[in-house]
């Protein structure tokens, strides 16, 4: 029971990170119907920027942790959002209206480029960051000696995810930008006829997705303490799995899918085998797509002739 609870907490933390990345996938897929293959790399770039900011702040003597984390979030979101915007502008916008495979290929090309760009500029070796936030809350101290603990960093991750998700849902449902995004999602041509600046809306979607991925990257850095240039691929595929599982195009779905993938992965590693945890996640993806292509909360695709 205690073991189960501990795994549950770990799974929810991991799921929060996946969920934040998954939002970027689900929004981009919803609005222009393409898999933004480079989104995992955006996440990786976010974590590298967060690391550089952390080290730069330490170098000039700022070590007050809340301030450091706040600055890390702000700078990482800003710079990563710039990357998201640039990628969309350079690799996807020229191909809008082209056939469907073209943006997928540029996305893969971008992904290869970004991975190697970071490898060349920051080196191929893993970057270890010693844990910055120690300790936590002990929830249960059973006589058998198993302690159920939720660490501060886990609390921060979960709380931040909840806050960001709420803010994001409000943006989508209440603001005019969100209305434009929903309009573009339904019918891009009609939206542009009604005066929605479609290109701008799509760019902003990429910017928002990248900013969330940057937060996820920063939390990944603080939680695991080890990053390298290759973390984006696996995290990206899993987050995409989460987006598909939740129903692509649906925001609560992305979060739900992220939690589900995080829990499945954690419990699989906890009870079966660590080596095959990726296989578990990928099998879930295949099974969901085959038997439930619209996901948990998605709308079924209507086939029009």
């Amino acid at each position: 029971m205690e073991y189960f609870l501990q795994q549950l907490i770990n799974g929810v933390t991991l799921g929060s990170i996946y969920g934040l990345i998954a939002i970027g996938y689900t929004m981009v897929y919803g609005i222009i119907g393409m898999i933004n293959f480079a989104h995992g790399e955006i996440f990786m770039i976010g974590s590298f920027i967060a690391l550089a900011v952390f080290l730069a702040l330490a170098a000039i003597g700022i070590t007050f942790l809340p301030l450091v984390i706040l600055l890390m979030i702000i700078v990482a979101m800003l710079c990563t959002a710039a990357w998201g915007w640039t990628i969309e502008r350079v690799a996807y916008r020229p191909l809008r209206g082209s056939f469907r495979l073209a943006p997928l290929i540029t996305a893969i090309g971008m992904s290869i480029f970004l991975q190697n760009f970071v490898q060349v500029t920051q080196g191929a070796r893993v970057k270890p960051l010693p844990p910055q936030i120690q300790g936590g809350l002990t929830l249960m101290d059973s006589p058998s000696g198993i302690v159920v603990q939720i660490s501060w960093i886990q609390i921060i991750i979960i709380a931040m995810t909840v806050v960001l998700m709420t803010a994001f849902s409000l943006i989508i449902s209440r603001t005019s930008l969100g209305r434009q995004q929903r309009a573009c999602e339904q019918d891009r041509k009609m939206a542009s006829l009604l005066g929605v600046n479609v290109d701008r809306t799509i760019s902003l979607t990429f910017v928002m997705g990248a900013a969330l991925a940057a937060v996820a990257g920063m939390m990944f850095l603080l939680y695991y303490g080890v990053i390298d240039f290759y973390i984006g691929f696996i995290a990206g595929v899993k987050a995409f799995t989460a987006a598909v599982l939740g129903g692509i195009g649906s925001l609560p779905g992305a979060m739900l899918g992220g939690l589900a993938i995080g829990l499945i992965e954690t419990f699989w590693s906890g009870y079966f085998s660590v080596e095959y945890k990726d296989v578990a996640a990928f099998s879930i993806l295949a099974i969901v797509l085959i038997f439930m292509p619209s996901g948990l909360l998605g709308r079924p695709e209507v086939e029009k002739v």
């Binding site: 119907g33 898999i35 590298f48 920027i49 690391l51 550089a52 900011v53 080290l55 730069a56 800003l78 710079c79 710039a82 990357w83 640039t86 350079v90 690799a91 020229p94 191909l95 209206g97 056939f99 469907r100 495979l101 073209a102 290929i105 540029t106 893969i108 090309g109 971008m110 992904s111 290869i112 480029f113 970004l114 991975q115 190697n116 760009f117 060349v120 500029t121 920051q122 080196g123 070796r125 970057k127 270890p128 960051l129 010693p130 595929v237 995409f240 598909v244 080596e275 095959y276 990726d278 296989v279 990928f282 099998s283 993806l285 295949a286 797509l289 085959i290 292509p293 086939e303 002739v305």
Partner: protein, 485 residues
């Protein structure tokens, strides 16, 4: 303001109507008048754009060029490199300025997106001639190399073998993606199955290359059907992502199934191919001994070259013949419109599975060739990046175009390989400059640029496989390939 002008608030219209009334009030009946935007001169505009680009580049590369995290004694250390950063910004500024000033100088249309549909033009059959020339060069390449470039003979031959392997893989994937329109991102799985089935058969049962080759193809085809069956209902991007997942699953299983595959250590000691039992080595019963010529290690490379050339040509031949068979026609029909196919009574299940199986079979052949060439395989050779490279070759070449695959392979694989020789650049960038480091970086960038430049691929016209009366080429914009629906 509106309250004052309206007689009473009670009969005031609500919502949008009210807003528009208020607006009309505010304008006092005048028609909306907007001042024409002032246009900058070309120089000012170019400078502005260059400034914006430079600022963006500064922001993007701030944490990648200026700051560099290194592993130091007490954890991580940060080093500063302002020179690279400033140079990058300067390059961006100048480059963008030149582009804006000279290339994009013309007035930009305010409404874009309309393209002329290229008329079907009867062109000089350049494709056919080029194909024939390429074939001739390919057939005589070992002799050409040994005559004209004897010093680099072995290296170039090895490179040619590599390129031909990708040509073969590209042609194999072209059946699935180009002809049947099924987007497969896990093609490397079949490559791995072929390589591992040959390697395991050869090392466990002591079988030779030529016995194992058909078996490897068969196994791969079987896996094609096994993996193809569950994804029959999926389309487009979903299909891509599930095949990607399958490819990764196979790789992870190969990596972790120690007893069977050797895990990350891979399989060692895979036998080399023989020519009717003649080995390419020194001593009794070898090729050089039998024909009474002096032994040279190049002979084995020449032999390998002809094997992969024959395999690649076989792939091409089978594909071209398949296109003329009912099943090939059905593939192309499926690519164009699946619903129409079903309503015409085509069994889409069988059509898709044959496409998967045929493509996988050639992937398996290529895989066993890869295993015998390397003599050693491990799961590291079958990562997603390989699938991406193969798919990139197919799409960059122009989906469904056989010649395009060849051109794309030569450009992407050969061109990237050329970077190894650019050691002259060390004079510019300093002795620490290692061009091979930038291989994949440039590969990724080239993928993006070629795609943006020619979204339909390098060879974008098609000749139809079914002809009525006279043959017409199909313009790029009319080719609906790979739409995935």
């Amino acid at each position: 303001m509106s309250d004052m002008t309206s007689p009473s608030a009670a009969d005031h219209p609500e919502g949008a109507e009210r807003l528009s009334e208020e607006r009309r009030e505010a304008m006092r009946g005048e028609p909306p008048f907007v001042e024409a935007p002032t246009t900058d001169s070309r120089l000012v505009r170019s400078l502005k754009e260059a400034g914006i680009t430079a600022g963006l580049v500064a922001l993007l590369t701030l944490f990648f060029f200026l700051f560099r995290t290194d592993i130091a004694v007490g954890g991580l250390a940060l080093s500063l490199d302002p020179v690279t950063w400033i140079v990058a910004i300067a390059i961006a500024f100048v480059g963008r300025f030149l582009l804006s000033f000279f290339v994009f100088a013309g007035e930009r249309p305010s409404v874009g997106g309309w393209k002329k549909v290229a008329a079907a033009t009867a062109r000089w059959p350049i494709g056919k001639a080029l194909g024939a020339i390429l074939l001739l060069v390919a057939l005589t390449l070992p002799f050409l190399l040994s005559t004209f470039l004897p010093s680099q003979n072995r290296y170039l031959l090895d490179l040619a073998i590599l390129i031909l392997t990708y040509v073969m893989l590209g042609w194999g994937l072209n059946i699935v993606v180009g002809l049947a329109g099924l987007l497969d991102l896990g093609y490397v799985a079949f490559y791995a199955v072929g390589a591992y089935s040959f390697a395991l058969l050869a090392t466990n049962f002591d079988l030779g290359f030529w016995v194992c080759l058909p078996m490897a193809g068969l196994f791969a085809a079987l896996w094609g059907i096994v993996l193809g069956f569950p994804v029959l209902r999926l389309r487009g991007d979903y299909l891509a992502i599930v095949t990607l997942a399958f490819g990764e699953i196979i790789r992870v299983v190969l990596l972790n199934w120690y007893d069977f595959t050797g895990g990350p250590n891979g399989v060692l000691g895979i036998p080399k191919p023989t020519l009717f039992g003649l080995e390419f080595s020194r001593g009794e019963g070898s090729f050089s001994d039998f024909f009474g010529i002096s032994y040279s290690p190049v002979q084995r490379f020449v032999f390998l070259y002809y094997i992969i050339l024959a395999l690649a040509l076989l792939t091409n031949f089978v594909t071209m013949r398949m296109r003329k068979l009912p099943v090939g026609r059905a593939w192309e029909a499926l690519r164009e419109d699946e619903i129409a196919c079903r309503s015409l009574g085509i069994n889409t299940v069988n059509v898709k599975l044959t496409a998967f199986a045929t493509g996988a079979m050639f992937g398996g052949f290529a895989g066993s060739f890869f295993a015998t060439r390397q003599g050693f395989i491990s799961p590291e050779s079958f990562t997603f990046i390989e699938s991406a490279i193969i798919l990139a070759i197919v799409v960059l070449g122009g989906l469904g175009s056989q010649l395009g695959v060849v051109i794309a392979s030569v450009v992407m694989i050969g061109g990237i390989e050329l970077l190894r020789n650019l050691t002259g650049l060390q004079a510019i960038f300093g002795a620490g400059f290692d061009p091979t480091q930038y291989r994949m970086l440039i590969f990724g960038l080239a993928m993006v640029l070629i795609m943006v430049w020619k979204p339909r691929g390098l060879v974008s016209t098609r000749s139809p496989s079914a002809v009525y009366k006279e043959k017409k080429t199909i313009g790029a914009d009319l080719v609906a390939q790979g739409e995935g629906h």
